[in-house]
Assembly symmetry: C2
Homo-oligomer: 331 residues x 2
C-alpha cells in the first residue's frame, strides 16, 4: 500500500500525473526529541512547481525520486519531545507521506478550537502571511488608493483584497470565471471584478473599473494580464510580484511587454516578494490575522479534495484554476 | 536669420533633421523681474525624445510648432531683477533660442570660477544629480557589492560608476565601443567593461565579469542588454531604471523577457527613477558632487559640438551613441 509520493520526473510544461510516483516506504520510529505524525491536511501550492525545476532559487529544488514536501497539518501519534504530546496538532513543512517521523524544528502547534485545522494552511498559514506582508511591506497601501489584485479568487488574492478593504482602499480583482467574480464582490467585499476569460481587451477593461488608475498592483499571475495593468499604473505605483503562475509552466523564457519604460514614466516600483524574507514579522502579522478572523472581518474559501491518492491531481488542477481559494487535500 | 528651433513634427522612430525647424522669432525686452539672456551651452538629452511624443508623462510633451527647451547655461545681458546682474551666468530650463527673455523662477546662478560652465549641464547639473540620487536612493549601494552600469560611458553612467568606486563597490560598465570601454577603465576607474557591440552572448559575458552576481544594476538603456542582466541578479538586487534609450525610438510597444519571475526568484527590486522627485535632496547631493570634483575624485567627459545650427543633429547623434559623456552644444 503506497504511503509516499515521490517526484518521478521534472515536469516539462504543465505537470502530469506521470511526474509523480506512489511508493511504499518504511515509516520508522521517532528518536530523541522526534515525533511520529499522521498527515491530516496537505497544502498544494503553485510555488511547488518552481521547486520541481533543477535550478537554484530561493529554496532548493526537490530531488528526483525523493518525496515532495509542502505545508501540512498533522496529528501527533507518538512524541519523544516534552513540548508536544500525543493528540496535538502541528503544522509545518513535511513530506507527502501518510505518516512520518519528524524533528520539531520549524514546527508550530495549532489549535483546532481557535480555527478549523485547514485554516492553518491558508489564512492563518503562509497564505495569510504572504497576503498581509506582501501587501503591507511592498504595496504600502494608503486609504483611498486603488488596489488591483490578480489571481484574486485564489488563496492569497482573496485575502489581499479583504485586507485592502479593511485598510480603506478601492479594491478590484481579476479572476477567471463569473462564479469567482461573484465570490469576490459578495463574500470578499471587493468593489469590482474582471473575468479575464470573457474579456477581449483587458487594457480597456482595467481602465473602466479603475478610472483613477492603479496605485498598488498585487500580482499573483504575471503574463498578459500583468502587461495590461502597466498601462494604468499611477505615479509612484507599487507592484508586488508575488507569483507568476501564468508562466510557471513555460518551458522557454517567457516574454512580455518591457516594463522599464512604464516604471520610469511613473516612478513606479516593482518588487519580488517571498514570505520567508519577512520571518521576523510573522508573529505580529499572525496576531493581526487571527484578530480580524475572529472579528469576522476576514473570510476565506477552500477547495478541499479528499484522499492521499489525489494530491498530485489537486496540484495539477491549480494550473487550470480549478480551485476557489486555498487548495487543500484532506486525508 | 534663424534664432529659434521649433518642433516641426513628432518624430516617428529615430528623430530626423526634418522634425526640427529653424525660424526667426522676435526676442522682446525683459519686464519686471525678468532677464534677457544669451545661450552659451545647450544640453541635449535622451529624455527629450519622450517629450516629443504627444502623451502624458512625468513632464508635459513639447507642443508642435513651439520652441523645444532643455537645460541651458546662459549669460545675462540685461537684468530687471536685483538678484542677477549683467554678466552673470545662469542655468535652467530654457528654450532653444539664441537669446530670450526669461523669468528667474527655477534659475540657478552658476560660477565659472568653480568649474567650467559646461559642467553645470553635466556633472554639476541634472546629470550628476541623477547619478548620485538614483544610485543612492534606489540602488542603496553597499561596500563590496557589485554594481553594473549600462550606458556606462554616457553622461549619467560614467558618474554612477565613479560614485560606485568611491563607495567601495566592484564596478562593471557596458558600453558600445572599445574606445568607450578603454575610457571606463582608465579615466573613470571602472573595474571592467563589456563592449556589447562586439559581444555575441551578453548573458555569458556578464557572468564572466560579474562572477559574484550583480547587486545593483543601474540601467540607462533597457532592451536586450537589460534582459541579459536579469540572469545574473543576486538575492535582494536593486535595479535602478533610469532610462531606456534602446526603446525610446520604438513606435510599437517594446517587448522583452518577462522580468517578474526573476524578481520573485531573487526578491529583487526594480524602480523607475526620475530626478525631479528628489528635489529636496538636490542641495546635499550638489555639495557632495562639488566636493568630490574639487578633490579630483570625479572626472567627466564631454562631447562638445559647436554652433546653434547643430543642436538638432547633436540630439539625433545621441541615439547612435556618438557622444562620450555629456553631449553639449556650445554657441
Amino acid at each position: 500500500m503506497s504511503n509516499t509520493i515521490l517526484l518521478n520526473n521534472r515536469p516539462e510544461g504543465k505537470p502530469q500525473e506521470s511526474d509523480f510516483k506512489f511508493v511504499e516506504q518504511e515509516v520508522g520510529t521517532p528518536g530523541e526529541n522526534e515525533l511520529l505524525v499522521e498527515a491530516k491536511y496537505v497544502s498544494v501550492d503553485p510555488y511547488l512547481r518552481g521547486r520541481m525545476r533543477d535550478e537554484k532559487s530561493y529554496i532548493p529544488p526537490f530531488e528526483l525520486h525523493k518525496p515532495i514536501s509542502s505545508s501540512i497539518v498533522a496529528k501527533v501519534l507518538e512524541s519523544n519531545n516534552a513540548n508536544f504530546k500525543e493528540g496535538d496538532y502541528v503544522s509545518g513543512n513535511m513530506a507527502w507521506k501518510k505518516k512520518q517521523v519528524i524533528t520539531t524544528d520549524n514546527l508550530q502547534k495549532v489549535d483546532p478550537d481557535k480555527a478549523p485545522l485547514s485554516a492553518y494552511l491558508g489564512i492563518l498559514g503562509l497564505t495569510g502571511l504572504t497576503a498581509y506582508l506582501g501587501l503591507n511591506e511592498i504595496g504600502k497601501p494608503k486609504e483611498g488608493e486603488t488596489l488591483l489584485v490578480s489571481g484574486a479568487a485564489g488563496a492569497v488574492g482573496s485575502v489581499v483584497g479583504q485586507l485592502g478593504k479593511i485598510l480603506g482602499l478601492k479594491v478590484v480583482g481579476i479572476a477567471g470565471s463569473d462564479e469567482k467574480i461573484e465570490l469576490l464582490t459578495s463574500k470578499f467585499g471587493f468593489d469590482a471584478g474582471i473575468n479575464y476569460k470573457t474579456t477581449d481587451n483587458m487594457k480597456e477593461a482595467i481602465g473602466k473599473v479603475c478610472p483613477d488608475g492603479v496605485d498598488v498592483y498585487f500580482d499573483n499571475v504575471g503574463g498578459e494580464i500583468s502587461d495590461a495593468v502597466l498601462f494604468h499604473i499611477n505615479k509612484f505605483a507599487r507592484i508586488v510580484i508575488c507569483g507568476a503562475i501564468a508562466v510557471y509552466n513555460k518551458t522557454d523564457i517567457p516574454k512580455g511587454i518591457a516594463v522599464q519604460p512604464f516604471l520610469v514614466k511613473k516612478s513606479a516600483l516593482m518588487q519580488g516578494f517571498i514570505v520567508s524574507n519577512y520571518a521576523d514579522k510573522f508573529k505580529e502579522a499572525s496576531q493581526q490575522l487571527v484578530k480580524w478572523l475572529q472579528e469576522d472581518k476576514l473570510h476565506y474559501e477552500e477547495t478541499i479534495v479528499e484522499g492521499f491518492e489525489n494530491i498530485p491531481q489537486a496540484f495539477i488542477d491549480l494550473f487550470d484554476g480549478k480551485n476557489k481559494g486555498k487548495m487543500i487535500v484532506k486525508l
